[in-house]
């Protein structure tokens, strides 16, 4: 896919996120919208994954640590062919494979279950350790490649407040898990407010460097930068890499952008200052994504 095609895909995924959330009547809005570009890049330009063969032995592993942004994951997986697109309408409904927070066993393409924050990086490190240190390298399982499959782990910035995140960070650095790439959604919001008010994370890059990781900082809405950073991580041999993706929460929907009120609420359920009336929010959000689209508008700006 070209960069333009990837941006178009991300826009479609954002529209699906709005539709899913409106249908579900609950769930998280800001994080999923903000991470649509990163997820699109990972699934359509970076990772070796196949929606028709989700259990392929040499696939790259993807671990979502911050389970609450699963609407973007589900929408991306559907677009990547892991399950039927129509299934997105079942989010959070009785009997659905699309649980309110991910249940890895049920969902094609999901390696883990998540929700309680801070658990993903440990699991990703466990997978990466087996891939790097406990598997036969260069054999048929890895397609004859010298490097084993890679592990990608998406974390939120809020869960940098969890101690387990740093336990896992130490372990991955000690064991030089070069096949592990972590991506942090640095959108600066959490449920109760802005991260630097709730529990300051900065200097976040310096913290990860001090913990022995290779650190990259990028614009999480710039497709080229996301792809380049992931590729650079593949070239770092002696350390795991963390990519701090600076994102705008609610990206693409003007009245949601930067607003922590939309962390845990779907369109139509709250009316923070400056937002349109509840019953018009979904319509306005979809119209904005369809007609203007975040990208086109920003180019005009």
């Amino acid at each position: 896919m070209t960069i333009q095609q990837l941006e178009q895909k991300a826009n479609e995924i954002r529209q699906d996120i709005i539709k899913m959330l409106v249908h579900a009547k609950s769930g998280h809005s800001a994080g999923p919208l903000g991470m649509a570009d990163v997820f699109t890049a990972l699934y359509f330009a970076v990772m070796n994954v196949d929606g028709k063969n989700p259990a392929a032995a040499d696939r790259d592993r993807f671990v979502l640590s911050c389970g609450h942004i699963c609407p973007v994951w589900y929408a991306t997986l559907a677009h990547a062919g892991f399950f039927p697109h129509a299934e997105l309408a079942t989010l959070r409904k009785l009997g659905s494979r699309l649980q309110g927070h991910p249940h890895g066993e049920e969902l094609p393409g999901a390696e883990n279950s998540s929700g309680p924050l801070g658990q993903g990086l440990s699991q990703a490190a466990g997978m990466a350790y087996v891939g790097l240190r406990m598997s036969a390298k260069g054999g048929s399982a890895s397609g004859g490649k010298q490097e084993p499959w890679r592990v990608y782990c998406v974390m939120s910035d809020g869960e940098q407040e969890e101690g387990q995140t740093w336990e896992a960070a130490m372990f991955a650095a000690k064991n030089k898990l070069r096949n592990l790439t972590a991506l942090i959604d640095r959108n600066n919001i959490q449920i109760d407010g802005y991260t630097e008010d709730i529990m300051p994370l900065e200097p976040l890059a310096a913290k990860w460097e001090a913990f022995g990781w290779h650190v990259l900082e990028i614009d999480g809405h710039n497709m080229r930068e996301i792809i380049d950073a992931c590729n650079q991580a593949k070239a770092i041999y002696e350390k795991p890499t963390v990519i701090i993706c600076h994102t705008i929460p609610g990206k693409g929907v003007d009245f949601m952008e930067y607003r922590y009120e939309w962390h845990g609420n779907p369109p139509g359920t709250i009316e923070p200052s400056g937002a349109p009336p509840k019953n018009e929010q979904a319509h306005i959000a979809l119209k904005e994504l369809r007609t203007l689209g975040g990208k086109i508008r920003s180019e005009h700006e």
Binding site: S122, Q123, E167
Partner: protein, 325 residues
């Protein structure tokens, strides 16, 4: 027929072995048998008896440092890749510290991880209440998909370790630090999901797990001299629990005493009561920790003071038999 036990069951010089040693022995069996078995430990390699495995199979041993939450998550990730991780620490720390990780990363995710909690029970002794895991059975058996094994001696711990590697699903194995009688034999049966009758009797059932199984046998021996015949059941598989063996026994005896080195709340006694209240309700007395924290002291002093020895079991049997009438 009761299960075969050692001939010198009540000899003062009966062999004394820490239950945790059986775990180390089991790991060595598995090291040879199954290349997928790996061991993770949190800075307690010697005392949890993971040392020998770590030396023999360094490529399959992972030192995690003092980080029990990460321990559980790593285990989950490695199990996801087809390994059979034994994540090892003291029971107060794992599952004590990392219950959420065990719940979500291991049980809910269906990851085949074995959780080994050593130094469980008040018999840890001088280390004091912080290090005496008295809640771990409750914490683990409440989790869907989890199996819970509480071996009664080192030999049974070895069998439990080996069997758990062949069992697909999360298993919690509870170990104790102190030397306790080695009273089962190679021939004594063991199977996940089954309880075993160690002594037959008609007047009262004693359902025990861990070191309390031996105390139950001692109690039954004493009581027999007073004309009270107890049936002693080794409830090593606290979950899945062997309902038929329990129910059949109390149908004969009409009452039950549960015995464990754990809080009465939510422990082995609770598991017994859950089975019997649904199938065949009988009077029950609970030998265990009465909703209290422990304290420093010698193991035998603590077991006696807090009423988890044969004397406490004898008193409970007499009381429950009274309630039958």
């Amino acid at each position: 027929m009761p299960a075969k036990l050692t001939d010198n069951l009540f000899a003062p010089d009966i062999k004394q072995v820490p239950i945790r040693n059986g775990y180390g022995d089991g790991l060595m069996v598995l090291g040879k048998e199954n290349p997928n078995v790996i061991v993770l430990c949190c800075d307690l390699t010697e005392s949890t008896r993971s040392q020998e495995f770590a030396r023999a199979y360094p490529d399959r041993f992972v030192e995690v440092g003092v980080a029990e939450q990460n321990l559980a998550g790593l285990g989950a990730g490695m199990a996801h890749e087809g390994k059979i991780p034994f994540i090892t620490s003291y029971a107060t720390f794992s599952p004590g510290r990392n219950w959420d990780q065990i719940r979500v990363s291991i049980c809910y995710s269906g990851n085949n991880v074995k959780i080994v909690g050593s130094h469980a029970g008040i018999s840890v002794g001088p280390d004091g209440a912080t290090h005496q895991a008295m809640e771990d059975i409750a914490m683990t058996r409440v989790l869907p998909r989890m199996s819970v094994l509480v071996p009664c001696d080192a030999l049974e711990a070895r069998k439990a370790t080996v069997a758990s590697a062949k069992f697909n699903g999360p298993v919690y194995i509870r170990l104790a630090r102190e030397k306790t009688p080695q009273f089962t034999t190679e021939e004594t049966p063991f199977e996940i999901g089954r309880a075993f009758i160690f002594r037959q009797g008609k007047d009262c059932t004693i359902a025990a797990a861990g070191p309390q199984v031996y105390y139950a046998l001692q109690a039954a021996d004493q009581l027999s001299k007073e004309g009270i015949e107890c049936e002693v059941i080794n409830l090593v598989s606290v979950k899945p629990i062997d309902e038929p063996t329990l129910v059949t026994s109390v149908k004969k005896t009409g009452c039950v005493v549960s015995a464990e080195e754990h809080q009465i709340t939510g422990g082995v006694g609770g598991a017994v009561a859950e089975v019997l209240s649904r199938n065949f309700p009988v009077p029950q007395e609970f030998v265990g920790m009465p909703d209290h924290f422990g304290e420093s002291g010698e193991p035998n002093e603590l077991i006696a003071k807090w009423g988890m020895d044969s004397k406490a079991i004898i008193a409970a049997v007499k009381k429950v038999i009274q309630r039958k009438r």
